[in-house]
Amino acid sequence: MARIALEHVDKVYANGFVAARDLSLEAADGELLVLVGPSGSGKSTVLRLMAGLEQVTGGTIRIGERDVTDLPPQKRDIAMVFQNYALYPHMTVRENLGFGLSIRKQPVALINERVRMVASSLGLDAMLDRKPAQLSGGQRQRVALGRAIVREPLAFLFDEPLSNLDAQLRVETRVELSRLHQKLGATMVYVTHDQSEALTLGDRIAVLRDGVLQQVASPMELYSRPANRFVAGFIGSPAMNFIEGTLSAETTGSESGGRFTFKGGDLVLDVRCDSPASSSVVLGVRPQHLEVVGDADGMLRAEVTLVEPMGNEQIVYVSLSGGERLVAVAPPEPPMKQGERVAIRAKRDAVHLFDAKNGVRLSCGGVQPSRD
C-alpha cells in the first residue's frame, strides 16, 4: 500500500481546456480520499492522471515515494474500477479476474488461488465461467471490483463506480465498499459527483471546480465549515440557502471582534466577525438549520410554495415577502400545506457568511438572530 500525491499538477488539453490547475493533493497511505465536483470539474481527469491514462502538462505525481509522472499505467501498479465496469466481454469472469495476474506472468496455481479467494469473498463463485453479458449490473460491478482486488495493487482508483446501479443496490454496494476499505486498509481514491456518496464514504473529501481544488477536509469539517460559497452550495442536500446582503459595523460594538449587522431583504442579523474584508456579503444557511415556526416568535414571514414529504421529514419551499426563496427541512408533523403563512427562524450559530465577490468564507462566529 502506498500514498498517492499530486504536486502542483497542471493538465491543459490541446484545445485549451484546463482540467487541473496547480493541483496539490495527497491520499495518505490507507486513506479513502473522495474527489467530488460537478461534471466538467476535472475530477475524472485527475483520477486518470493518477492512473497514467492521461499525461500531466506540469507537476509531479508520486505513488509511494516513487515519481511515476512519466510512467505508463501498466508500470504504476494501481488498480482502477471504471464507471461502466469495462469488463472484457470475450472473457469469462474467471479470465477477467485473472487477467492482471496472467499478463504479469504469475504462476497459474497462484492465479487460480487468488481468483478463487476473491470470487468467494464477493459471492461470484457460481458465475466464474459465465461471460459478462450473462451477468446482472450488480454482478458486473462486483467482477470489476474483484478484478481490482485480485492484483493486490498499491492503490485503488474508483471512477464513479456506483453511478450505473439502481438506488437500492447503490446503497448496498456503498456499504460493501466501506467494509472493503476497512478490511484491505488500502489507499483509495474515489471519484463521484454525488455529494452524499462523498460524505458517507470519504475519510477526507476534495472538492474540485473547473480544475481548481476548492477544499480538502473531513466530511464533518466540509459540512460545517465550507471554505467558500461553492463548497457550501455543493455539499449538503437540499442545497444551502443563500441571501445576498450587506454587512455594516455596529456603532455600539465594544466587545472584542467587531459586531456587525447583516441586512438582506427582510432579514436583519447581528454578526460577530474579525474585520470582514468587504461589506457586500452572502449569508448562507442550511435548510436543516431553518425552523418553520408559528407566526408569533418567527423572524421572517413567509408563504409555503411547495412541500415535499419525505416520510421522516418534509422539505418546505417558502418565499419571503421580499420575493426571496428559501428551503427548510421540517419535522414530518405537523404537515405543511401549500399557501400556508408561516415564519422562519434560523438556528443559532448555524449561519455562514461569504464574501459576495470571491465567495471566500468570512471568519465570522457567534452569529445570533437579531430578535432573541
Partner: protein, 274 residues
C-alpha cells in the same frame, strides 16, 4: 395463430425480395444442368432432363481448375494482406493521436474514387517494367490498392465503436499497448474483420478488368476472365458458362455461411453497462 394484415404484407414483400434475389441463381443452376439445345428450344422453369455434360466439359475439356486455383491464390492473398495491414492501419487511425488524421482518411477514400479503367494503361506499363505482367503479384498488388481503402474505412469505424475503456482497463491491469491490442481489441474486432475479409475476397474474386488486362494466358487467368473467354467466335456455350458461374459462386457462399455466426454475433455485448 392469426397474422395481422401488416404482417401478411411484410411477409409477401419479403418473399418477393427473396424471389427476386435468388431467381437468377436458381435459373443459372437449372440451365447449367440442361442441354444447350433444350435451353433454347423449350426453356422451362423446372429441369426436365438433367445432364452433367457442362460440368464434365468444364473440368475435362477446359481445365477450369486452373482459373479456380488462380482466383483462390490471388483473392486469398489479397484478403490476408489487406486484413493484416488494414487492421493495423485502422487501429492507428481509430486510437492514436497524430497530425493530419482527417487528411489521411480523406486521401484513403480518394484512392477508391479513380475509375479503374482510367488507370489500367499506366498500371500495365508500370507492371511491365517491373516484369510483373502475368504473375500473381501483378494482380495482388493492384487489388490491394483498391481493396485496402475499404478495409481501412470499415475497420476504423468498427474499432472506434469498441469502448476505449476496455483497453485502458487492460493497461491499468498491466498490459502493454501490444498486449492490449492482441488480447483485448483484436478478439473484439473479429466480427468486423471477418465481414471486411468477405467483402475484400468477393471483390477480388469477381474483379474482371485488371485480371483481363494483366494476364496473358490461361496459366494465370482468374475465374471471371476464364468464363468470359469461353465464348467462341461463332457460338456462346451458355450451359458451360452458367455451370462455371455456379462453381465460382460456391466458395464465396461457403465462406459467407461459415463466417455468418461470427458476423452476426455481437461480441461486445456485456462489456459495459447496457
Amino acid at each position: 395463430m392469426t397474422l395481422r394484415p401488416q404482417r401478411w404484407a411484410f411477409g409477401a414483400a419479403l418473399a418477393l425480395l427473396v424471389l427476386f434475389t435468388l431467381f437468377p441463381f436458381y435459373w443459372a443452376m437449372v440451365a447449367s444442368f440442361t442441354p444447350d439445345a433444350a435451353l433454347f428450344r423449350e426453356p422451362s422453369l423446372w429441369p426436365r432432363t438433367i445432364i452433367l455434360d457442362h460440368y464434365r466439359a468444364l473440368f475435362v475439356e477446359r481445365d477450369f481448375l486452373t482459373p479456380i486455383r488462380n482466383s483462390l491464390v490471388v483473392a486469398g492473398t489479397t484478403t490476408v494482406f489487406c486484413l493484416v495491414v488494414g487492421t493495423l492501419a485502422a487501429y492507428a487511425l481509430a486510437r492514436l493521436d497524430f497530425k493530419g488524421k482527417p487528411a489521411i482518411m480523406a486521401f484513403i477514400l480518394a484512392v477508391t474514387m479513380f475509375p479503374q479503367i482510367s488507370i489500367v494503361s499506366p498500371l500495365y506499363l508500370l507492371l511491365r517494367s517491373l516484369r510483373l505482367i502475368d504473375t500473381y503479384p501483378g494482380l495482388i498488388m493492384p487489388y490491394m490498392t483498391f481493396a485496402m481503402p475499404l478495409t481501412v474505412w470499415i475497420l476504423t469505424g468498427s474499432i472506434r465503436q469498441i469502448p476505449r475503456d476496455l483497453e485502458e482497463a487492460a493497461h491499468v491491469d498491466g498490459a502493454s499497448r501490444r498486449q492490449s491490442f492482441t488480447k483485448i481489441l483484436l478478439p473484439l474486432a473479429v466480427p468486423s474483420i471477418a465481414t471486411t475479409g468477405i467483402l475484400t475476397f468477393i471483390y477480388c474474386w469477381n474483379e474482371f478488368l485488371f485480371a483481363l488486362s494483366f494476364t496473358l494466358g490461361p496459366e494465370r487467368q482468374t475465374v471471371p476472365v476464364a468464363i468470359a473467354l469461353f465464348r467462341g467466335q461463332y457460338q456462346v456455350p451458355w450451359g458451360q458458362i452458367l455451370a462455371a458461374a455456379v462453381v465460382a459462386t460456391a466458395p464465396v457462399a461457403v465462406m459467407v455461411l461459415g463466417f455468418q455466426r461470427r458476423i452476426v454475433q455481437g461480441l461486445t455485448a456485456g462489456a459495459v453497462k447496457g
